[in-house]
Symmetry: C2
Subunit: 191 residues, 2 copies
């Protein structure tokens, strides 16, 4: 390294960790690979993040923050929000994959951003009547927005078309948006 910059090194490590964890998860990740990819070394990882799971936790938090910042929730139009979430995950599935791995391998960390959850729930609750129904709705909306990226290729290609073609993407995005719209309509109309 020519220039010494703790912040920059930390950031490079975190970035490399995000990619590695998104690709192979916590158990599959290799500390040495992350260090190499970051242009740093193992020692620095332990200096900055304590241990492997500490780095993973930091990566998860970073991923969730990125996601929340990139796709701010708009309670008035959940359908459009779902569409933007879909776009975000499609363009870069890193954050989604890291979150999912956290949910499987470290559920406690995945449940951490309680504040954000509470906020969204309350915002939606005013439209749906109760907090419970808001949670039920949010759970479903999230999953619809993620469905495409998490579906096996075999299912996506079951109609004989290429799942990565632009028309195919546009088609599914439309399905996502109108599905969420239909569900929200339903929930708002019958409390």
């Amino acid at each position: 390294m020519v220039v010494r910059d703790a912040e920059a090194t930390r950031a490079r490590i975190l970035e490399a960790a995000l990619a590695e964890f998104a690709a192979v998860g916590l158990a599959g990740a290799r500390v040495e690979r992350i260090a190499a990819e970051a242009g740093s070394n193992v020692r620095m990882i332990y200096a900055y993040f304590g241990n492997k799971s500490g780095l993973f936790d930091a990566a998860v938090r970073s991923a969730v923050e990125t996601m929340a910042a990139a796709v701010p929730p708009t309670p008035d139009s959940l359908a459009e929000w779902a569409g933007r979430l879909f776009d975000f995950h499609l363009e870069d599935p890193t954050a989604l994959r890291v979150s999912l791995w956290a949910q499987l391998e470290r559920p406690a960390v995945a449940s951490e951003p309680m504040g954000a959850y509470l906020e969204k729930t309350l915002a939606v609750a005013t439209r749906v009547g109760s907090a419970r129904r808001a949670v039920d709705l949010l759970v479903i909306v999230y999953s619809i927005a993620q469905a495409w990226v998490l579906s096996p290729q075999g299912l996506l290609a079951a109609d004989g078309s290429d799942p990565s073609s632009p028309e195919r993407i546009v088609s599914h995005r439309a399905a996502v948006v109108r599905s969420v719209a239909a569900i929200v309509d339903l929930e708002v109309s019958q409390p």
Copy 2:
């Protein structure tokens, strides 16, 4: 072992593998732990399944088969089918978790049951107009049925209630069924 029974031993190994892989995934699983849990030994795993990923693949296939057999699709009432899927995943998340891990760690294996996908797609296509729309719909229906089990505890509890309470479960199941019903209605009405 008192009795020598290749089939039984194989079955015990597979059962133990399912539990282990569901809990910690392919990279997190320990061959030795599986052997011990199965009341067998490591060498047998290699005799019957070749290697660790061979065992994982076998576990995935077994999980998918179990799931397909336990919750046969009913194209005429996708909503009820989603409800039964929800029940199945809730009672035992093993198959769902194994499938999800396959999707993350070995996408090729997760995409394997093409036959089942094609069948379901065709069955739904006759109701929705085109195979493409059928796939879009199926992807979303699957994800809605799984959403609860895959959501972080923090979100599920954001309304202040206990996510594992029977009333909470009943409430969400209802949300799943009526959501799918609403989406299917929409898709059938406007082709």
